[in-house]
């Protein structure tokens, strides 16, 4: 039987590209999104293009109480789980209103931890599986323009590295992906420099390769490793003065 991939937050561009990549390699798919209606066209497309089985299920990252039940009622047990959902939010609004701030923290960190805990326990028992988390370079250092999102992703990155450390001993692999800028809806209204902005296809290719080659943590475009190295090495006394 072919392997199955569960994609959490499957309605985004990045998720579609990742789904296409795995489907083209023959994986069957379980697409999970809070808005199942959106999955109709995406699922049809994957079936026509790649002749693979595709199931669509409802999943809300913020509905923590449902996660256990969600996972255990999946028709097919996944071999690979990709956690793609995320929320950039509006930093300024989140500074003023707790609701907005909470949503950013809960989606990017708490929601991801809540569902991946369930997956981790299952994979640990089975002694196999791959968990891929889409985190962000924004988590490498807090900046005034997006530190709610950034700190939640920093938490997520730390969570993934802890999880990797735990599950390594059980034959389960965990990949952390830090995409850098990606041309998607999330940053549609932000000007980003072309050479350091990846396409979703490039992200999908890197995610797939990283999972096959059991890489631990990747930047999608290698220049980002350099950029973040420089950013991390700026002394805090200098960094705090910058407008970033």
């Amino acid at each position: 039987m072919e392997e199955n991939v569960l994609i959490l937050g499957a309605a985004s561009d990045m998720a579609v590209a990742i789904a296409r990549k795995f489907a083209s390699a023959g994986y069957s798919l379980t697409l999970a999104a809070r808005n199942v209606e959106k999955l109709e066209a995406i699922a049809a497309d994957l079936k026509v293009r790649y002749n693979v089985a595709v199931a669509s299920v409802k999943f809300d990252a913020l509905d923590f109480a449902s996660h256990e039940q969600f996972y255990h009622s999946l028709a097919e047990r996944p071999d690979v789980v990709v956690c793609v959902f995320g929320l950039l939010g509006d930093q300024f609004e989140a500074q003023q209103h707790w609701k907005a701030c909470e949503e950013i923290l809960f989606t990017n960190y708490v929601g991801a931890v809540s569902i991946l805990n369930v997956v981790a326990n299952d994979f640990e028992r089975q002694k196999r599986g791959t968990i891929i988390g889409i985190s962000s370079v924004a988590g490498d250092r807090g900046r005034q323009s997006n530190y709610f999102y950034g700190s939640a992703k920093a938490g997520f990155t730390a969570y993934l590295s802890g999880l990797r450390n735990r599950l390594y001993h059980h034959g389960v692999h965990v990949v952390t992906v830090k995409p850098g800028f990606v041309k998607t809806r999330m940053i549609e209204n932000i000007k980003t420099p072309g050479p350091i902005t990846a396409s979703v296809k490039k992200v999908a290719d890197s995610v797939f390769t990283a999972s096959k080659r059991k890489r631990d943590s990747i930047y999608v475009l290698s220049v980002w490793a350099l950029i973040m190295l420089v950013i991390r090495f700026i002394p805090e006394a200098v960094f705090k003065r910058l407008k970033l």
Partner: protein
């Protein structure tokens, strides 16, 4: 966010706000007061340019494929190159394809594109089973030749002005292999190539490359290319239905324009004076090389330099073709402004509202933009109009509105339909403004 956008010929360049969508419900609230759909930007001009554009490339899902009857349903932003990857391995081909596979299905409908098989299969609109359009009135309407036919005919070739084409269901062509049985015939001059076109009307695909700079008895020397889908016997069985997609190289920056002419001259001469002096060459080649010879050089358009270029494509009614082509080629020849090579093709009958093709000869050639060019093209427009011909809107960036209104006899009718489906001009483009299509 405003940014600079332009189409394939790098002219004009405009500042525009771009939105995109992958879900219809997300689109409607995001729509600007007035905007134009933008596919993959492969038209040569201002048809998909305006102060606000709706990029359709993320709306690219294939919704259904009936492999038995060869009918596919997809969202408008999917590229023909993607469709080929899906349909060729299952024994189907596009019913009509332009000279590049990097266009969207929405663009194929809105320009009502034609291929090398126009004389037998008509234009793209001929193969549409049904489509849905988000019109200026905010409704999503199904249309085809029977349902909302006015909307259907105004949308085919309507350059995006009726609204956003959302889903298109169209029929495909059966193939036995991914290969084309090809015949190249040399013609010493224009009369000879026209006679050859006439004699080969039953060939599925036909097109000629014509040398625009020769005069005297070689005036209009050309190479006619004919093609048929090959059956299995002629190809290696194991590769028989493999779509091929590999880019050879990318042109990294804007070249000075003299480079291209040198390039195309070499290719043409290599073919024309091929080592065998035979007049006729038969071969079997993959469809990718046959239909899309330029696609393997990604961004070849940059070869023309920063100022960009225009592609001039006109059609002259059949009866006036010989005289008309001679007249126009002689003018181009004298001005020496055109590209060395042009593409010549004989269209079959077509009677649509606003689509370009009509029975007669069409010629397409590239002109690098330089001083004096537009004045010269205005003169050519006049000649084309006098012969009863017209200019392809999808290749146009500069025609005067008087010429348009004179040469598209059903434009008024088209405009009336636009008023019905888009009374508030929610869809508008620089092309529509220039030609006074939206008032």
């Amino acid at each position: 966010m405003k940014k600079s956008i332009t189409n394939w010929n790098n002219f004009p360049v405009v500042e525009a706000k771009e939105i995109s969508f992958d879900f219809q419900k997300d689109l409607v609230p995001k729509l600007a007061h007035s905007s134009i759909p933008h596919g993959n930007g492969r038209c040569y001009g201002d048809a998909s340019l305006y102060s606000d554009v709706v990029n359709t490339l993320r709306f690219d899902k294939v919704l259904a494929f009936d492999e038995h009857y060869g009918i596919i349903t997809c969202q408008s932003g999917v590229l023909l190159s993607d469709l080929l990857q899906i349909i060729v391995p299952r024994g189907w081909f596009l019913p009509v394809t332009p000279g590049t596979k990097f266009i969207t299905v929405g663009g194929a409908v809105a320009s009502d594109v034609h291929g090398k098989n126009h004389h037998v299969d008509g234009a793209f609109s001929n193969h549409i089973v049904a489509m849905t359009v988000l019109t200026g009135t905010g409704e999503t309407l199904v249309c085809n030749k029977d349902t909302n036919p006015d909307l259907f005919w105004a949308t085919c070739g309507g350059m995006g002005l009726t609204g956003i084409i959302l889903e298109v269901k169209f029929s495909l062509k059966r193939i036995q292999s991914a290969y084309i049985r090809q015949k190249q015939i040399k013609a010493a001059n224009l009369d000879e190539v026209m006679e050859l076109f006439g004699r080969n009307m039953d060939s599925t695909y036909s097109v000629a490359w014509i040398d625009c700079l020769k005069s005297g008895k070689h005036f209009g020397r050309s190479i006619l290319m004919l093609g048929e889908h090959a059956d299995t016997g002629e190809t290696q069985a194991e590769h028989k239905l493999t779509p091929r997609e590999k880019a050879l190289f990318t042109v990294p920056f804007h070249f000075p324009s003299f480079v291209l002419n040198g390039f195309s001259v070499k290719v043409f001469n290599a073919l024309y004076y091929a080592k065998n002096y035979k007049r006729e060459i038969n071969s079997v080649s993959h469809y990718d090389g046959f239909f899309y010879p330029l696609d393997s050089i990604l961004s070849w358009n940059k070869i023309y330099g920063k100022r960009g270029f225009v592609q001039y494509q006109f059609v002259i009614p059949f009866d006036a073709s010989r005289e008309g082509l001679k007249n126009i080629l002689a003018r181009i020849n004298k001005m020496g402004m055109g590209s060395f090579l042009a593409v010549l093709k004989l269209f079959g009958d077509q009677e649509n509202l606003i689509s370009f093709p009509m029975k007669g000869y069409t010629l397409a050639l590239d002109f690098p933009i330089r001083d004096g060019l537009f004045g010269f093209l205005d003169e050519l427009d006049q000649v084309v109009a006098d012969y009863g011909g017209r200019i392809y809107l999808s290749k146009d960036a500069r025609m005067k509105k008087e010429i348009f209104w004179k040469t598209y006899p059903r434009a008024r009718e088209f405009q009336e339909i636009l008023k019905k489906y888009d009374p508030e001009n929610r869809f508008n483009s620089h092309l529509a403004q220039r030609l006074m299509l939206k008032v």
